[in-house]
Symmetry: C2
Subunit: 295 residues, 2 copies
């Protein structure tokens, strides 16, 4: 989701936000990878000026998720094609929240046609389908060489049955909404195989408890503190631990051409009870025991 209100729309915004992030970090070597919010005012000149400050540009259809009202009303190639072409020329990847404004279970599937249009019209533009949730999106990966995808932790674990099949679980409510068992199976298959065009993307959303347990609950699942541990559980369960490093890091480094950073996170197989709450935020799998922890 677009985390900032208003979003990061200019070079000045990017530089100022990068500086805020660095000041907030205890780790001085932390390097934030910045993205720009896609809008129809972008030009080849602006992109040329900004290209060294950003890793990618993120496109949100307007009104699709939290704070997306500044997004693109309609992805019209006649109107926006010059921007996609300039991004392609400068090697700036396009990240997309791929949903239409259709029926909630069909939005991502319907958006497939837009992915196909973009992928075929701009074959040198790297397009990342963010947080995919359907078997249809998985199928697109092998159809177009320039389509890539991220997958969240929670979409590897849950289906709509977990959200609304028993009691309604607002802490599992997110956009795109969790789908069917066959969709989760397709996501799991490419994640566990560390398909080279697939990367882990947490899409972790720290909404406070009062914004989740209320009469109009915000979309998003808070997974950041336990994402790597629960991925380790999942990959171990399927005897694919050897692929975890590729899924969470190597594939993304390749896709984004990021130089290797010498940094390690060591996971150990040891029981850990997920806290019921982090500050005001209820995490995914709150209160349950998981069998991996960060050393």
């Amino acid at each position: 989701m677009p985390n900032l209100v208003p979003p990061i729309m200019t070079k000045q915004d990017v530089i100022a936000y990068k500086s805020r992030i660095k000041q907030a970090m205890w780790d001085e070597e932390f390097t934030p990878y910045m993205t720009l919010f896609f809008h129809d005012g972008l030009t080849r000149e602006i992109l040329e000026d900004i290209k060294d400050e950003i890793l990618a540009i993120k496109l949100y259809p307007a009104g699709i998720t939290t704070n997306s009202e500044w997004g693109v009303e309609s992805i019209d190639i006649n109107k926006l094609g010059h921007i996609f072409q300039a991004m392609s020329d400068f090697g700036i990847p396009l990240c997309v929240h791929g949903e239409t404004d259709g029926f909630v279970m069909d939005r991502e599937k319907e958006f497939g046609a837009v992915y196909e249009l973009l992928a075929s019209n701009f074959p040198d533009l790297k397009i990342i389908m963010e947080h995919i949730t359907t078997a249809d999106s998985v199928a697109l990966l092998d159809k177009y060489p320039n389509l890539y995808a991220t997958i969240t932790l929670h979409h590897l674990y849950i289906t709509l049955d977990d959200v609304a099949g028993g009691m309604l679980q607002p802490h599992l409510f997110c956009k795109p909404i969790a789908k069917r068992y066959e969709d989760r199976a397709a996501l799991l298959q490419v994640a566990l195989a560390a398909h080279p065009k697939v990367m882990f993307g947490s899409d972790s959303a720290p909404h406070p408890q009062h914004a989740k347990e209320c009469s109009g609950c915000a979309a998003g699942v808070f997974t950041a503190p336990i994402a790597l541990q629960m991925l380790a559980m999942l990959f171990e369960k399927h005897n694919k631990l050897d692929n975890l490093q590729k899924f969470v890091s190597d594939n993304a480094r390749g896709i984004y051409n990021i130089k290797t950073i010498e940094k390690e996170i060591i996971l150990v197989k040891e029981e850990f009870k997920v806290p019921e709450i982090y500050g005001t935020v209820v995490p995914f799998n709150a209160g349950n025991i998981i069998d991996w922890k960060i050393a």
Copy 2:
């Protein structure tokens, strides 16, 4: 949903509960129509003994909705057929919460096979498909002469998009969950036409606010105080006000062979603001203005 814990399973339960209801009513002429909870301990002798005390028997597959754990594990005609046959012989209708334990959006559709099995094996048993939510269920009405249905207010108004398409709305969460636009259209069509095999059934569920706005929200929508008014709005909008009386009363009287009771509820076209809350219960359409009220 089965409202009582434990449910009404014997003649003594029926008589005692009927007495409690009558004592709680300000209207001394109020006649509660009693139902028995279907269970595999029922026999022809029990049914013969109880038949004049009840209007129908309600069957819940175990674990499907609130308090349904006493329900039937599997609807096996070899095992339960003698009960259905006795009900048929004594003219006791069977009301069913028709969902399997499958994927939440498919449960009612999957249950269609059970309705077909029951309807074809017991052609003289009146079977009421309670609170139907799909076009598939509507289609069954005209396939089997002994299948009938109820439809709630909320399933005529909402789809899954209202529950989870924007912010998550726990006050619109119910079982069976609201479905697709084409399902709602099919329900609307038979309701507005006052299809003679279709009756209004409110399935109104007064869960307190704390059980809805929380980390595990109970299923059910509270519509009782505004159901007739909002049905009037809907029927008026579609120029079908003439059919409202049939949908909310006449059809059910015919299906259940209930003698006409001389009682009127007068609806007037006058603005009414739905309260934000009734006691501790947030109603459907809370805080909004509707244009009909009860005189």
